[in-house]
Chain length 198, copies 2
């Protein structure tokens, strides 16, 4: 909008959302200001609240409002199983689609030296402490089937081997190059059950 | 996300955005909380600011931060021409694509009795005052080429006739049933120039 100021700034701010270009951001802005101001207020407040309350679980690095997430805090989960995923969305997908009852560890990324993402950015020092101390019997690698996801899986399996922990990789029923988060539940469940030593 | 609370509320709040379903809202939430917390903060603040500052122009009902928008406040615009559009996005599209130098009037909707949207909701009482007092020589109807847009155009042209104001309708080079906002500039400009008496 030519009016600039607050309208232009809202259009610009909406462009931080994935998949939202300038045209969509303008349409969203007009919708919010013209037709749904209550919703705009709720969204502003929900963002503020989430930023204040939500952080990473100190044990598994998934998003949570507490210092320990519901998985890490639950006495019902099998602590000898640890499943490595790239993002919290995949914790959700695996919990929903498979019978997995162990714990998770969320990398919040994948190794990508060119982007400055090394072992430390993925919390692999925390992971190594757990492999050393926490009685993990099987490490399940559920990183994505991409080049970087595979490289990350290899790096972590080397680490597990040094600590004598058995490592498995979920099966490639998942389309190669695909993002795990978008795979249908049946495929994901199958891939999970037919995991192999890695 | 199973964690509920602030995360679930943010996912729900994002669904107010046009075109955003549950899956996209979840992806946006994870992106904001995991990878772009600064942007989430900026978006929250931009929404708050826009809600505080942006309202409707008292003369033409487009979105603006002042009591009079830049068009109504400009001494350079031709006050004998008044173009009726359904939304502020169309003010923007016409200004960008055509040589139009007159004023606008924004309905912020279209007549839709079933949804409880009548003449008053569209500010037609304000429009009638302008037709009576403001020296409008030509009223240009640029409502969308939909059934409701046509009905709205007819209603307004009847009103204009009662006040002896000439009414024109932009030409239907625009695809029928299409939303004016998404038409390319050349088509829109052509349709605008070949407007006819209505
Ligand atoms: Zn946790
Ligand atoms: Zn105005």
């Amino acid at each position: 909008m030519r009016q600039g100021g607050a309208i232009a700034e809202l259009i610009e701010a909406l462009r931080c959302l994935p998949g939202v270009g300038p045209k969509t951001a303008q349409r969203m802005t007009l919708h919010l200001l013209q037709r749904d101001r209550d919703a705009a207020g709720r969204l502003s407040e929900a963002l503020r609240q989430a930023l204040n309350k939500v952080g990473l679980c100190s044990q598994c690095r998934t998003l949570t409002e507490r210092s320990l997430c519901e998985y890490c805090a639950s006495p019902a989960r099998d602590r000898s199983l640890l499943c490595i995923v790239e993002s919290p969305a995949e914790v959700f997908a695996i919990s929903r689609s498979t019978g997995y009852k162990g714990l998770f560890f969320v990398l919040n990324g994948r190794l990508s030296p060119l982007d400055g993402i090394g072992p430390e950015e993925l919390g692999l020092d925390i992971l190594e402490q757990r492999l050393k101390n926490d009685g993990v019997a099987e490490l399940i690698l559920a990183t994505n089937a991409t080049v970087e996801g595979e490289a990350t899986a290899h790096y972590i399996s080397d680490m597990a081997r040094r600590h004598g922990v058995r490592t498995t990789r979920i099966a490639h029923g998942i389309p190669f190059g695909g993002e795990l988060e978008y795979v249908d539940g049946a495929t994901l469940s199958h891939a999970f059950d037919s995991r192999k030593d890695f």
